[in-house]
Symmetry: C2
Subunit: 308 residues, 2 copies
C-alpha cells in the first residue's frame, strides 16, 4: 500500500517533539508538507504559510494533522474535510463540543476519517489497566493531577483566557484515561472551580463524579503544586487496588508494578492509519464533555491572583 501523504499544520513544540518523529517512525505515513505562518518544518519538506496555500500550490496530501491551538482548529478541519482529506486533531479536539459534532457529521458525509486524538490513552500502562479493570467491579476511584503551572506552562497567557481550559488543560488528559479505563460511564455530581482573581480560567478544581453503578470518582486538580508532581489514578476494586502513575506510564496492580516504554504518539499514529485504512472515524468527545459539564455546573470560587 502506498503510504498516506500527511501534512502537519501548526509547527510548534508538540509538532516538532512528537508528531514529526512519530510520522517519520511509521511506514504507513510519509510527511508530505508542513504548514505554518510562523515556523518552518524539517529541511527538505515543502512548507506553506497556510492550508489554502498548500491546497492551491502544494503536493497532493491525503491527510492533515492539526497541531494548532484549538481556537482555530475548526476552520482548518472543515477546509481539509471539504477537500476529502483525513483529519487528525490534537487534544482537545475543538474549542466547543458542537463544532466537533459538526466536523464528525461532515467527515461521515464525505467519507473521510476524523480522529480526535487523546495522547494519554496511549501511555504505556493504560491498555493493560483497561483490560484488568474490564473484569473487576470498581468500588471507587481517585484522580490526583497536581502540577506546577509555572514549570509546565510558563507565560502562556492564552491558557488563562476565556476558552482556555486552565487546570483542565492537563486535567483533560486524566479524564481521557479515566473515560477509557473505567468500565462504566460516569458523570459529574458536584464541582468547585477555583479561579484566580486576575484570571478567567480555574487554577484548581475539586470534582465528584459518579458512575452508573453508583461508585464515586473523585478528581483533585491543582496547578499550584511545587515539589513532587502527581499524575495518578487510583482505582479500588473487588480484587484490590490499581494505580496508574506518571500520567499513565507506570501501572501498579496487586501483583506488582509494570514500567513500559512511552508509546503515546507512535500509538496515536498507528491508530490513525488503522482508522483511515478501515474507513472509520473516532471522535470521542467524552473527556471534553466532562470538562464542559464542570464549567456548566461548577461552583466558582475566587482565589488569590496568579502571577507568572
Amino acid at each position: 500500500m502506498d503510504p498516506i501523504r500527511i501534512a502537519i499544520v501548526g509547527v510548534g513544540k508538540i509538532a516538532r517533539d512528537q508528531h514529526i518523529p512519530a510520522i517519520n517512525g511509521n511506514s504507513a505515513f510519509s510527511l508530505a508538507a508542513t504548514v505554518s505562518p510562523h515556523h518552518h518544518g524539517p529541511e527538505g519538506i515543502p512548507h506553506f504559510a497556510s492550508l489554502e496555500d498548500l491546497i492551491e500550490n502544494g503536493p497532493a496530501v491525503d491527510a492533515v494533522a492539526l497541531c494548532t491551538p484549538p481556537q482555530v482548529r475548526y476552520d482548518l478541519a472543515a477546509l481539509a474535510l471539504a477537500k476529502g482529506m483525513h483529519v487528525f486533531l490534537e487534544k482537545p479536539p475543538g474549542a466547543t463540543l458542537a463544532e466537533v459534532a459538526a466536523l464528525e457529521s461532515r467527515a461521515n458525509k464525505v467519507g473521510a476519517t476524523l480522529f480526535a486524538s487523546w495522547h494519554s490513552r496511549f501511555a504505556a500502562g493504560v491498555a493493560p489497566a483497561r483490560a484488568w479493570l474490564a473484569e473487576r467491579t470498581v468500588k471507587s476511584a481517585k484522580i490526583i493531577w497536581r502540577e506546577d503551572v509555572r514549570v509546565w506552562h510558563p507565560g502562556q497567557a492564552w491558557i488563562w483566557e476565556p476558552g482556555g481550559l486552565g487546570v483542565f488543560d492537563p486535567g483533560i488528559n486524566a479524564l481521557s484515561i479515566a473515560t477509557h479505563i473505567l468500565p462504566r460511564p460516569f458523570f459529574l455530581r458536584t464541582a468547585t472551580l477555583e479561579i484566580p482573581a486576575n484570571r478567567a480560567a480555574p487554577i484548581a478544581a475539586d470534582i465528584e463524579f459518579r458512575d452508573t453503578a453508583g461508585a464515586t470518582i473523585h478528581m483533585d486538580l491543582d496547578w499550584r503544586q511545587t515539589g513532587p508532581q502527581s499524575w495518578d489514578i487510583i482505582v479500588e476494586t473487588d480484587a484490590g487496588t490499581l494505580k496508574l502513575s506518571q500520567g499513565g506510564a507506570v501501572l501498579t496492580l496487586p501483583t506488582g508494578t509494570e514500567h513500559n516504554e512511552d508509546m503515546e504518539y507512535p500509538g496515536l499514529y498507528a491508530r490513525f492509519a488503522n482508522l483511515i485504512r478501515g474507513g472509520r472515524s473516532d471522535a470521542d468527545i467524552a473527556p471534553l464533555r466532562l470538562v464542559a459539564d464542570a464549567f456548566l455546573r461548577g461552583n466558582r470560587q475566587t482565589v488569590e491572583a496568579f502571577h507568572d
Copy 2:
C-alpha cells in the same frame, strides 16, 4: 392497542398545567399514578411519595414523565429504565451532558424509550418554519429572547445557583427551536455572559454562533426586560425574511402571518407515544450542548447585583 400506563413524577405547576391535561387528552395514554413527596395529583389517581414506593406498592406502569428539577432527574430516570419503563424527560433533560448520554445508552440496552422533550419545538409556527427553511439558503439569523425574570421566575433562588442555567433557562427554549429549524448545524464562536455580583448564573448573554456554511447567528438573551417581552427568531434567507415570534407561536413569512393553536404538550405526548410504539428513543442534547459550550467558552462579566 392498550393505552400506555404512565406515572407523573414531580407534581408541580408544569405537571398540573401541561402534562396532566395533555395525557388526559391523548387516548394513547392513561394516567396510572402520580409521585411527589409534596403535592397530590388529581382526585382518584393513586398517589405515591416516591418512585420506589410506586414500584413496590403501586399499579403497573409502562412509562414515567419526570417533571422534577433537573438536578434529581438522573436517579429517577435510571431507576425507571432499570425497571424497563419508558422515560419522558422535561427540559433540560439533565443537569449535565454526560448523564444524559449515560441514560441514552442505558435505554438502548434495556430496549426502553428515552425522550428528551423540548416543548418549544412543538409551538405552532415551528414545524412550518422548519419546512420553509429546508428549501432556502440561510444568510444570517437573530435570536432575541428578552423577558422580565421578576415576572416569570419570581423568588426562584435555585435558578441562580451553580447548576441553575440563569437566563439560559428560557434561552434553551430558543436554542431548541433554532437547532430544529435551521437547516445546518451551528456552533459557538464568541460569548459574553453577564453575571450579577451576588449570583452565580447569568442574567444576560450575548452570543455569536456560526453555521457550517459560515452564516452568523446572533443571540441576545436578557432577563432585565421590562415592558414588552421578546421571544423572536428572525432568519434572513435568499427568499426573504422568516420571523417566528411569541416563542414560536406566530410565524411570519414573506407571504403573510400564520397564527395557529398552541399544541406544545399535546405535540410532545403524541411524539412520545410514537417513539414508544416504534421502539425508538429521541435524546437530542444539541440545545444543552450549546449552553454548556457557552459556559465553557464564554467571557464572564460581573454586573449589578440582582435582587428579587
